[in-house]
Symmetry: C3
């Protein structure tokens, strides 16, 4: 539970808001590489932290991410012509390069010098893991590149999708960090169902509420759910939360291939979120076409319109809930694990009023995440560098059965130095 003021503080992301200022100090996933697949292809609209932008890939393959409206008379550059190393406004022919410089003005004489004084807002970008990332903060505070492990594998081993969620980003992030709902909401109620979700026999479901351990770190936290198994073993599942909105979780493709997977919940504005979903093979074997359909999650082309990135099952159709399926086959009657998440998170309203919650021990990870976000804001307000800008790149998440007395941190996350843990709660 937060006060209304705290809730406003950590949810609002516009220019000049405390959380907006904080998020602008990170590399942010802005769009998929395949939205602007080749040099001089049509530009793409991008709305990020409440700012209207347009992305383009120039003749030399360089990526521009500039303010949507042309500084001349505020025409939309979305309608622009991407040609000869710049995006040209179709209204009067002003042309901008990827750095935001005005390089031509068709409506004025050639010798008109005014153009050299015109710049438009242009944000630095980088392209990693099939995603174009943007940095929207002050030049002198740019952090190291967001080289998450999943961005470092070959494209053959990686899969990334995008889906728009109709609520504030924090509702999505909290849902992702909240492992406690997973074996409840995402469970199947018959063993022979072929739908996405956890079968009744899965120890994750069969067990009771796990013991939760949160290791606070500089980058966010490592989070473990530990369930005793028989007399001498335990089942452990770890997750990573990397500030400000990234999650890593252990996963398997539908044919059972081991993967790491995760999401980034990127604010479009205060009321809308772009969720980037990624997964990658943690073995030498690449992903196959079936793996890329994401049938179980509901984030792939079968479930999400690949032009608008809107979920086909959405608020307007009650997420296609099937009450008979809910009665006999799955806990929710909604098809797709992440469709279930969107149904619940969007159903809370645009920005849920956290002052009305009643949290318990099972909500520990959520409580800690809010705490870290508020700390990050405070750090930024004091002129410092918030957590989550370094030290997270190699992190993984894992699921295993260990001996009851095992040193689980050493076995589950060998890539994380023990001294990275600031506090365990």
């Amino acid at each position: 539970m937060l006060s209304r003021e705290e809730n406003e503080l950590i949810t609002r992301v516009g220019q000049g808001t405390p959380m907006g200022d904080t998020l602008r100090l990170y590399w942010l996933p802005a769009l998929l590489s395949r939205e602007i697949p080749e040099p001089d292809c049509p530009p793409a609209r991008v709305r990020l932290l409440g700012e209207a932008l347009v992305a383009f890939r120039d003749t030399n393959g360089r990526i521009g991410l500039i303010q949507e409206l042309c500084p001349h008379r505020l025409a939309s550059l979305y309608f622009g012509r991407n040609e000869e190393c710049g995006l040209r406004c179709v209204y009067h022919g002003w042309k901008f390069d990827v750095d935001g410089n005005c390089v031509d003005m068709m409506n004025e004489p050639d010798d008109y010098q005014f153009k050299h004084k015109i710049r438009t807002t242009a944000y630095p970008t980088c392209e990693l893991g099939g995603v174009i990332w943007a940095y929207m903060g002050p030049a002198d505070k740019k952090p190291p590149l967001p080289e998450f492990a999943w961005t470092q594998v070959p494209q053959s081993h990686r899969h990334v999708t995008k889906v728009i969620q109709e609520c504030n980003w924090l509702q999505g992030l909290e849902g992702g960090l909240d492992t406690s709902h997973a074996p409840i909401m995402h469970r199947l109620i018959t063993e022979n169902s072929t739908r996405g979700g956890f079968k009744p026999s899965n120890p994750f479901v069969a067990g009771k509420a796990p013991k939760l351990v949160v290791d606070i770190t500089e980058y966010g936290y490592q989070y473990a759910g530990i369930r005793p198994l028989g007399d001498s073993e335990m089942h452990i599942r770890t997750y990573q939360f990397i500030l400000p909105f990234h999650q890593i979780r252990p996963s398997k493709s539908e044919r059972g291939h081991p993967m790491d997977a995760g999401h980034s919940w990127v604010p479009i504005d205060d009321q809308m979120t772009m969720v980037f979903n990624w997964s990658y093979s943690v073995t030498d074997e690449p992903l196959n076409e079936e793996d890329r359909l994401e049938r179980n999650l509901g984030n792939g082309p079968l479930h999400v319109d690949q032009v608008t990135f809107r979920s086909k099952a959405n608020r307007s159709n009650d997420y296609l809930i099937d009450r008979e399926v809910q009665r006999t086959e799955s806990f929710t009657g909604i098809d797709g694990i992440n469709v279930q998440d969107r149904a619940i998170q969007e159903g809370m309203g645009s920005i849920v009023d956290r002052s009305k919650e009643h949290l318990g021990p099972a909500d520990k990870a959520i409580i800690q995440a809010r705490k870290l976000l508020r700390q990050a804001v405070k750090t930024v307000q004091a002129g410092g560098v918030p957590g989550g800008t370094r030290g997270y790149q190699q992190l993984r998440a894992r699921e295993a059965v260990l001996r009851r007395d095992a040193d689980w941190r050493a076995e589950m996350t060998p890539e994380m130095p023990r001294e990275a843990i600031v506090q365990t709660v």
Copy 2:
């Protein structure tokens, strides 16, 4: 005509508003029984006086009407599982019984005692006449059950429908009380039309503006339109207004079967209304299937979507007005008597600005209704019990031709004691 302040006072219904506090002292029609037809069926969304609720019928047939959002983390219980005497939130498995008690928390250990402290808002309900009624006020002020005459006949003799109207409830109520528009707006202009409405030969239409008599009572008022007929007779039609928003009128089914009929205009919120339409046979003979189609009124399955309860003819399609029909057959060119009402009432805007009206003698019933509503608010503000909570249950409305010197009150409303009349205007 009202001042803008008076208009605000009697139209707004949210928690803490004067009219909202007043309405919360009555039993309110909340949904049709058939929306949650059987034990453990899917829950139904209900929006009432601006509050988001969910209704369910539990394993034992008891009815719950609780706050839509789960008190844990505000997930919508609409997606919930109705099972084993409670509605279970699919997010973390918290379960609530019809009284709002939290009876299970799947995300916490079994011995976790916190659940006994958790309650959600639950409103008492009763089921009468095929309708589930709710009481949303303080426990110590609950009025007697709303045993209207129409709720006391067998289901075979009764018909109830529901339709959403896209404007404030008071516009609907005023339209219902305003008998003066009926022979004008609802008239047919050719005798041989088969559409719903009053034919030119109907004395109701053929006559001129009637003399209006309003008998103010404790429950609201009895309202009579009296038209001289020849030298020695008179035509009388009586109506009942029962506070806060119920109407009773004399009616006939389309095959001519005598009925009482009426409406209740229940605020969904300030801008939307759920209209409950009922009718019942006043003889021993039951209603038949044709009677239940309500072709003339436009409230039945032919005119209203039975899932969303939206009128098929609505603002977005100009109520399917047919200008040629308007020219040659009916006064409005709109099909369905109550569709005509909705067209006009919604056309005034969400909340009509009553400070701009120009009322005359023909608007007497409307003026009196507003007065009674303001009195009810004042009574409640002074800590009293508003009118309309008792003394109305047996009331009927009738139409008759009487001798000019008859004691029409005695003949038309024998069930109403004469001393119930506080004042006649």
Copy 3:
């Protein structure tokens, strides 16, 4: 560039706003004559300067333009019956003549005298050029009739259409006055394209940015774009801007027939505009059916729904932009010259923030138009008569190639007395 305050001042048009008061001193195009084609036909909704009105043609052919809501109980007269010299409200049968007098009240006794005291808002109208014009200002300030040259030719020689634009009227007007964008945005990029637009060989396109001359007058301004042609000639194109929102430009029909053409950008309210598009043959030969399709402009029945007057290509479908056409055939990839204008002008947002612009010499006409509009407001605030109410009726716009030293004003606009020019900028 304007300050935010100036921007508010010249864009807002509601009752009591400075620009609203100013616009109310002009005859305003309100609807097409063919929207109410004959006596006693159904009425039409009209929204003008933020006021909800209804237009009707009475039994004698007189035109009424009255407040939409009936003064009795605010029912919409759009549903009314147009009969026997008046529009009758269907709710209680109050009837109004074209002057706004209440001439009948069906719900009150015949001898009820109250009706003679009831009037509704009725605006004077005139019908010129296939358009019904309204005057919404004080009776004593009514200007001469808007007898533009295009309204004085026979119907056979004239064509008028209407289209709704989803942004503030000033964005439309500025686009119309801005000749500098035309050879850029509306150009074709291959000579053999059959789409609307200017071919590469057109001197208008082939030339560079022209010299711009703005002759300020009492009615607005004459505006010329002058391009040197060879050693001894020049290409001239003149436009007229008549306050508050009319434009005249030289044109040709698609088969090459010489016409004058233009637009009037009439505010529906602050966020929406009704654009009236007209053209007429400047020879004795009438227009033909093909001329009336306006294929090139995109304002005719092929591009605009003739019931709702909404553009089929619109914001919701990105104006049906075809990126391959944009790459190979036309500058924008959008079909229809005025569809291109709407795409750009609507893309700026409802009311563009002019404080963020960066204007240059090519924007001279726009800068001058804003100046004249602000002057008109000041004149009205000082109790005077704004420009543009007289002296514009015979104006034309022309395109020609003249000797370099010609007296172009005398040859291009013989109908304009030289002394009408107040200043040249």
